[in-house]
């Protein structure tokens, strides 16, 4: 409850600071301080001391998994605001409001990681999405950004409609919004299966799983790079938190073909994401496709839904968010976002090039980085279920494909010559980036550093 209430309050605080404080670079600091507070209070709650004592039975249930997920999301947002605060200022004229909207998104995340009721799922997903539509179009002079925002808004509303229809069907079949399976005489009713499939489709849309991913490249490419960074990381992994809760609670309502359905979605997502990413020339667009591919890996957790899958999802959320936020923080400072733009980065900025290489290696899943253990946990979760072992092989194959396009960026940085145009970077930015890279390596050597929070 701490996260939900406090982040809403901090959002309002940010709005008011827009009235009283006119120094635009101050917003970043206020926002970082508020995020730090939010993180501290969320950790307090996961240790069992909540500020608010509200009877939320039937609607929200706060468990260790959800609260740790909140912590990861809030921490990633904190890193994101500290790294890219200056770019948020440049992305539009309403900096304070942009920060307020980021807090509202966190409020939505607090809901979708702990809902037990489909009504709350709906409200949470909407609180998560609506600020994003606005942030996507925050640079009003940029035509591509406007197009992306409108496209995102229309497609997002459409998928929301599908989700509502699914919720209505589920209610019609069982007479309850709760996350519990209503099975009479061992037979899953057609209505509830249809309802679950509709909600499944809507959530697939939100996490950009194929074949509902068509909006992703355009929106991620059109939006300002800072906003893409937030959308592709924190918000996307929160979508998976919502997804795994739904599948965990209502899997039985979907009928006997669920495994096959999820397996098909996984294979399609991996194939579309990886194979199209190979041919991209723009690094920003390549990262958009790679985010689809990474979503394919996170979908493994929905297939398995066991303890290993949940641990893997947490690790994946942390590894993927941190690495992608790091890459985007550098990318947002570059003029030329194509592969050529990275030529010779190692000569002019050796430290940043090395850190970028670590992030890219983590995304590719090379051992000693967090990305390796994240992928390992996901695959081992599927192995533990003992079903569809072919999926694991396909996953490994596509992980190998993904290494190709991540290494192309590393190759451009280290083995090609060119002049990199990079906005001035402060020493603080470099230290922070170094800290993020260190975290990724620590998680890659000792993943229990994160996962042990789940059991204490």
């Amino acid at each position: 409850m701490n996260t939900i209430i406090l982040s809403a309050i901090f959002g309002v605080v940010m709005m008011f600071s827009g009235i009283f404080i006119h120094n635009r670079s101050a917003y970043k600091n206020i926002s970082s301080a508020a995020l730090l507070l939010l993180l501290v209070f969320n950790i307090f709650e996961s240790q069992g001391s909540s500020l608010f004592n509200i009877n939320t039975t039937n609607f929200l249930h706060f468990n260790k998994f959800g609260l740790l997920f909140n912590s990861i999301c809030i921490f990633s947002t904190l890193i994101y605001v500290m790294l890219s605060g200056r770019e948020i200022e440049k992305a539009g004229n309403n900096t304070a409001e942009a920060h307020a909207l980021i807090f509202f998104v966190l409020c939505g995340i607090g809901i979708v990681t702990s809902y037990t009721n489909l009504l709350m799922l709906f409200i949470g997903i909407e609180i998560l999405s609506i600020p994003l539509y606005i942030l996507t179009g925050s640079d009003k002079k940029n035509l591509k950004g406007n197009e992306a925002a409108l496209k995102y808004f229309l497609m997002g509303s459409f998928s929301t409609g599908i989700m509502l229809m699914g919720i209505a069907m589920l209610y019609g079949s069982g007479g309850t919004f709760m996350l519990e399976n209503v099975v009479k005489n061992g037979i899953v009713s057609y209505l509830s299966a249809l309802g679950m499939v509709l909600i499944f489709i809507a959530l697939c849309f939100k996490v950009s799983a194929a074949p509902f991913h068509f909006w992703t490249p355009d929106v991620y490419d059109g939006a300002p790079a800072v906003i893409t960074s937030f959308m592709a990381t924190v918000v996307k992994v929160a979508g998976f938190a919502a997804f795994i809760r739904l599948i965990e609670g209502r899997l039985g309502s979907m009928g006997s073909q669920t495994d096959r359905l999820i397996a098909i979605v996984i294979i399609l997502t991996l194939a579309f994401g990886n194979l199209t990413a190979v041919f991209q020339q723009s690094v920003k667009r390549m990262l958009a496709y790679s985010s689809i591919a990474q979503a394919g890996f996170m979908l493994f957790s929905l297939f398995a839904v066991n303890d290993a899958a949940k641990e893997g999802l947490l690790l994946y959320a942390a590894a993927y968010s941190l690495a992608t936020i790091g890459i985007f923080a550098v990318l947002a400072k570059m003029d030329d976002m194509t592969l050529e733009g990275f030529n010779g980065l190692s000569k002019s900025q050796p430290l940043i090039a090395a850190l970028l290489a670590i992030f890219l290696l983590s995304l590719a899943g090379i051992p000693l980085t967090a990305g390796f253990f994240a992928k390992f946990y996901m695959l081992s979760a599927v192995v533990k279920t003992g079903k569809y072992l072919g999926l694991v092989i396909i996953g490994v194959l596509f992980a190998a494909v993904s290494a190709y396009y991540y290494f192309k960026v590393i190759q451009a940085m280290y083995f090609k010559d060119g002049n990199v145009v990079l906005a001035p970077v402060t020493a603080r930015f470099k230290y922070l980036l170094l800290f993020v890279a260190a975290l990724i390596v620590v998680l890659g050597v000792y993943p229990n550093a994160l996962l042990s929070f789940l059991y204490f």
């Binding site: 809403a8 609607f59 909207l101 509202f104 009504l119 409200i123 600020p131 539509y133 606005i134 209505l191």
Partner: protein
Amino acid sequence: MSTTEILFWFLSALALVSATMVLISKNPVHSILWLIIVFFAISGHYVLLNAQFLAIVNLIVYAGAIMVLFLFVVMLMNLNSDSEPQKNSRFKVAGTIAGGCLMLIMIDVIRDAGEVQNAKALVKVGNIGLIKNLGMALFKDYVIPFEISSVLFLSAMVGAVVIGKKD
């Protein structure tokens, strides 16, 4: 047939016909007018189910406020059949097939669903739709989603101002 049944069939037919007209009329203003009729027909259904408050709110909010906004937008943008972009015929065929498949599945599922076999709508009985009971449900059982949805509206409002403001 009792009066209620006659009313039910009349309202259902009206809703379906007007909904189809929304889709096939060429002029967007006509589409919106047909949509208003759909809302009226659905409000009629609410009244039959003894949910008067819901019926009135549906009329005031949807048929009244939102549809007037729609009309304004359509009229201000001066949309008509001439300015409508030509759609690719392949998309039309693909859309018809995809939409038709979905409709087929939905109709089949709802027709075969065990929950609705021999089930009867509670016409004229049941009083959950009355304003007193609705208030009790909203502020006691469903108070948490009710309160949290304020964050949703706040963020939407901030967004509307941010987008609408002149830079």
